[in-house]
């Protein structure tokens, strides 16, 4: 652990060499694998935790999808997973149904696509791609992971308590979440949810501050901001969003804890429940919604921006072309980042918020479509006249562009308050955000794992299994989420335990069955990924230094886990990261460390 101090930050000049092998030798098991301060190990820890969490959340979705497709049927699987209390005779309990959708959402949004995605790739890539020995503070970085870990453990242990986990939806609107009388999930389960999320925010802040400081301060010589790969820009903007918005979630949660435990009335007023009138007056649940979505909306960009950064890098590398409109990509990410703070009200058009305020949010929200469209067009133009190398990572990146477009356009409908009236909280919304945020972000994460697996585990993943994984996942993903639009058009509300209590939904049974069948197939296809992933960690082919012929700095480090990343001096950067197929060059890539030829123009750092 002590060797974190050996990172010599003044080493940019580069005449100083460490005997890293010597230090590695003395590391105890605990310091190397458990309380590690090395960014590569922390990255692996985040990834493995996220994989476990994702499998759990996916299994949950299979359980509630089975209930939705075949309500009232008895499944031994459900009984085996949930036991006699929540899955009596193999039929899912309505309270457990709500708990499953709640925890599925919470885990996917926060633990997989925020903690997992940012945690893995920010930690792995920042020091590698800006040319630093490690993160600015290895210790805070370690704390960040362990807060994340404890938070995950608390969230998972809430699954095993008597009243069941939190079940008020991942947005935990009070009074439902504030009153233990309202539902069993609002008892101990909600307390654990709140504690877990508070710790999660601590983790996110420790990580985020570290990411920002490292990117700003520890760039190697020549790594101007305008030479950074787009992954770095994406992670930087993501971290800034997180640092500014996550604390608001803590305030929101602390007030809810006060309402739950100390008898305050921030969110409660005029309530009669459990046979008695509560004393609380003067609070407003709408206040909670404002605070929650002040985080909640930037949060969806915290989820999607790293994925967009990852795919920018992968699409350029594998098209063997510069990313089209590098500056426009940065500009659009900055615009998205800024606008993401002033659009939260579009989640609240019909909550009783003043309709004039709704109008303002319509305007700001629809503005976001412009930078998003620019990004999509730039991706597609990057493919144009490229020489596309279909690595599994490239497939997932193209999948991301497709889902980002398909899911993004329905956002234009939902952002329009007039149209939102009738599809708010229906399956149309479920389809929209799963495609644009869920699929895009998870595709970005898969792309990142396939692409940087050599840097994570020094080995290669199996290509053929990767292809199979992508195509089955891609087909199933659209098979699950596209038909949901039609449920929304028929007016089906989300979070219904079954639609069979309304005759008007009886003609939709086949849609629900198709969705569930695709969900099960899609889940099975993840088993292929899991096999490929774990098998390759131990038995994959050894990776060469630069398997994808990429320009960025991480491929200039040797394929070995050395502390400090580069055995000798830190590399010096002379050009942007996207000199692929540059006319006049011998090969179709020029690493960032290659000096500019005489008269050569650097397309990045003007």
């Amino acid at each position: 652990m002590a060797n974190a101090h050996s990172i010599d930050l003044s080493e940019h000049a580069g005449h100083h060499e460490h005997d890293h092998a010597h230090e590695e030798h003395h590391q105890s098991f605990v310091a190397k694998y458990v309380f590690s301060q090395d960014h590569k190990m922390i990255s692996r820890q985040f990834l493995l935790t996220a994989v476990v969490m994702a499998v759990i959340a996916m299994t949950m979705s299979i359980i509630f999808r089975m209930q939705l497709a075949w309500p009232g049927e008895k499944f031994a699987f459900i009984n085996a997973m949930l036991g006699d209390k929540w899955g009596k005779d193999g039929i899912l309990d309505p309270n457990m149904y709500l708990a499953l959708v709640t925890i599925h959402g919470t885990i996917m949004v926060f633990f997989v696509l925020t903690g997992g995605l940012s945690g893995t790739f920010a930690n792995l890539l920042i020091p590698f791609q800006v040319g630093a020995r490690d993160m600015a503070s290895g210790f805070l970085n370690m704390l960040s992971y362990w807060f994340f870990f404890v938070s995950s453990v608390i969230m998972l242990s809430s699954l095993f308590i008597d009243d069941g986990p939190a079940s008020g939806g991942w947005t935990i609107y009070p009074p439902l979440s504030a009153l233990p009388e309202a539902m069993p999930g609002s008892k101990l389960g909600m307390t654990m949810w709140l504690i877990s999320m508070t710790l999660f925010v601590v983790s996110s802040l420790l990580g985020g501050i570290n990411y920002i400081v490292t990117i700003i301060n520890l760039r190697t010589k020549g790594m101007k901001m305008t030479r950074m790969p787009l992954t770095m820009w994406a992670i930087l903007i993501t971290a800034i969003l997180g640092v500014l918005s996550f604390p608001v979630l803590v305030s929101c949660v602390v007030l809810l804890i006060c309402d739950r435990s100390l008898g305050t009335s921030f969110y409660l007023s005029d309530i009669y429940i459990g046979g008695r009138a509560l004393d609380n007056v003067g609070g407003s649940p709408v206040l909670f919604e404002h605070l929650f979505w002040f985080l909640g909306h930037p949060e969806v960009y915290i989820v999607i921006l790293p994925a967009l950064g990852i795919t920018s890098e992968i699409i350029a590398t594998n098209s063997r072309k510069p990313i089209f409109g590098y500056r426009a990509m940065i500009g659009s990410m900055l615009a998205i980042g800024f606008l993401s703070f002033i659009v939260w009200g579009h989640h609240m058009f019909i909550t009783g918020m003043n309709p004039f305020l709704g109008s303002v949010f319509v305007f700001t929200t629809l503005l976001i479509a412009i930078p998003s469209a620019v990004k999509a067009f730039n991706y597609i133009t990057t493919l144009w006249k490229g020489n596309i190398q279909y690595t599994p990572a490239m497939l997932f990146s193209i999948g991301l562009v497709s889902s980002f477009v398909t899911g993004g356009v329905t956002g234009i409908i939902l952002a329009d308050s007039t149209l939102d009236i009738n599809v708010h909280d229906t399956y149309f919304v479920v389809a929209h955000f799963h495609i644009v945020m869920g699929l895009s972000a998870i595709f970005g994460m898969f792309a990142g794992v396939y692409h940087w697996f050599p840097k994570l585990f020094l080995r290669m993943m199996n290509k053929k299994l990767g292809y199979f994984h992508f195509w089955t996942t891609f087909v199933c993903a659209y098979g699950v989420f596209f038909p949901m639009h039609f449920l929304g058009l028929a007016g089906v509300p989300r979070r219904y335990y079954t639609n069979s209590n309304f005759p008007m939904f009886d003609n939709l049974v086949d849609i629900n069955e198709i969705v569930t069948v695709f969900a099960i197939l899609g889940a099975l296809s993840q088993v292929i990924f899991l096999f490929n992933f774990f098998y390759s960690i131990f038995k994959g082919e050894k990776s060469p230094q630069n398997p994808w012929n990429s320009n960025t700095l991480e491929w200039t480090t040797p394929m070995a886990n050395i502390h400090g990343n580069w055995p000798g001096a830190l590399p010096v950067v002379h050009r942007w990261a996207y000199d692929y197929s540059k006319p006049g060059a011998e090969r179709d890539f020029i690493p960032q460390t290659v000096p500019l030829a005489e008269g050569e123009h650097d397309n990045g750092g003007h």
Binding site: Y173, P175, N387, T410
Partner: protein, 343 residues
């Protein structure tokens, strides 16, 4: 049974393990880089990309053909017609945008799949192109915003119609009550502390305005072609009053009164004669017949659309829209609250 599964699992693990050994051994002999992407990989995946693009388009049409007729019938309210027309325009815009963009994506993914002998074109940026696809979406979005906000302002304006009917929707776990103002056209005040078995919506028993109020459950009636102003309250948690056929939705929030107004323009009887609704109900009743459930007729419905607890999925109320005359007959038969409050 469990033993069988266990044995099966063990055998599976052994089989996979053996398979892996074979793969590893063969790899040593071949000494190829399995992960290396070859031209045939590129061609193969490029073709799959194109096929997926075509499949995506075909399945989109198939889904529309098969499922669009399950959609809600055309709006049964005056403002709802505006929403429907705006919806249709926007839906066309996004469908075309999505097909063009996805089409270009999958086509380029096929067309430019990597070949060993070709080199990509170095193209870093093009200001004219980038300006074009910033400005075109901006102009289209401006149109969407202008029309959207115009209708939004009309829909959310305070009701000024002197002839309106004011109705209260009251939500609690897990049912709805509807309160009419009665002869004096004024809803009585409420006080949640006075809620008890006989006073389920918390009427303020000291307010005489409430004495002629009428409370109904399970089903409520409204007259056609008159503006209905809904005042919404909740007893316990947030609910959402969703009346999809009227394109109407508003949350019911404890501690405040929310509002939504609309003018229904088709009676329940009109709807039952509408060709689209007849076809829709046939689909529903065919599906019900398969499950041995009795046939049903079309009804307007009020549902809860904000998660509110275990029986969230079962909070419903039937809405009957009828002629003014029928409405007056119906309302005259309902009991007034006073009998309840002064029990």
């Amino acid at each position: 049974m469990k033993l069988l599964i266990l044995i099966g699992l063990v055998l599976l693990i052994i089989a996979v393990h053996q398979l892996m050994r074979v793969v590893e051994l063969s790899r040593q002999f071949k000494n190829t880089k399995e992960w290396n992407v070859t031209e045939s990989d590129n061609t193969f995946n490029g073709k799959l990309m194109l096929s997926f693009g075509i499949l995506f388009f075909v399945l989109l049409l198939w889904q529309i053909d098969r499922w669009e007729d399950n959609s809600l019938p055309g709006a049964a309210s005056v403002h709802g017609l505006n929403i429907d027309s705006l919806w249709n325009v926007n839906m066309w815009i996004i469908t075309i945008a999505s097909i063009l963009t996805n089409g270009a994506l999958f086509y380029f993914a096929y067309k430019y799949s990597g070949k060993d002998k070709t080199k990509a074109t170095f193209l870093a940026h093009d200001n004219r192109l980038e300006m074009a696809w910033t400005i075109v979406p901006a102009v289209v979005l401006a149109g969407i915003i202008i029309f959207g906000l115009k209708f939004w302002n009309e829909i959310t304006d305070r009701s000024t119609d002197p002839n309106k009917i004011t109705i209260e929707l009251y939500a609690k776990q897990f049912d709805w009550s509807v309160r009419y103002a009665g002869q004096d056209k004024t809803l009585g005040l409420t006080d949640y502390r006075q809620i008890d078995g006989g006073n389920s919506v918390g009427m303020d028993t000291l307010d005489a305005n409430g004495y002629d109020d009428i409370i109904v459950k399970n089903e409520f009636h409204i007259p056609v072609n008159r503006e209905i102003e809904f005042k919404m309250r909740s007893r316990d948690v947030i609910h959402s009053a969703f009346m999809p056929h009227f394109r109407a939705q508003m949350n019911c929030v404890p501690g405040m009164i929310t509002e939504f107004k609309f003018t229904p323009n088709k009676t329940t009887a009109d709807m039952r004669k509408d060709p689209y609704v007849i076809q829709l109900m046939k689909g529903i009743n065919d599906a019900r017949a398969k499950d041995n459930k009795e046939a049903v007729e079309f009804d307007y419905i009020l549902l809860c659309n904000k998660i509110c607890g275990a029986s969230h999925y079962n909070m419903q109320m039937t809405i009957i829209v009828e002629s003014e005359k029928d409405y007056n007959t119906w309302i005259a038969k309902q009991k007034v609250v006073k009998t309840l409050a002064s029990k």
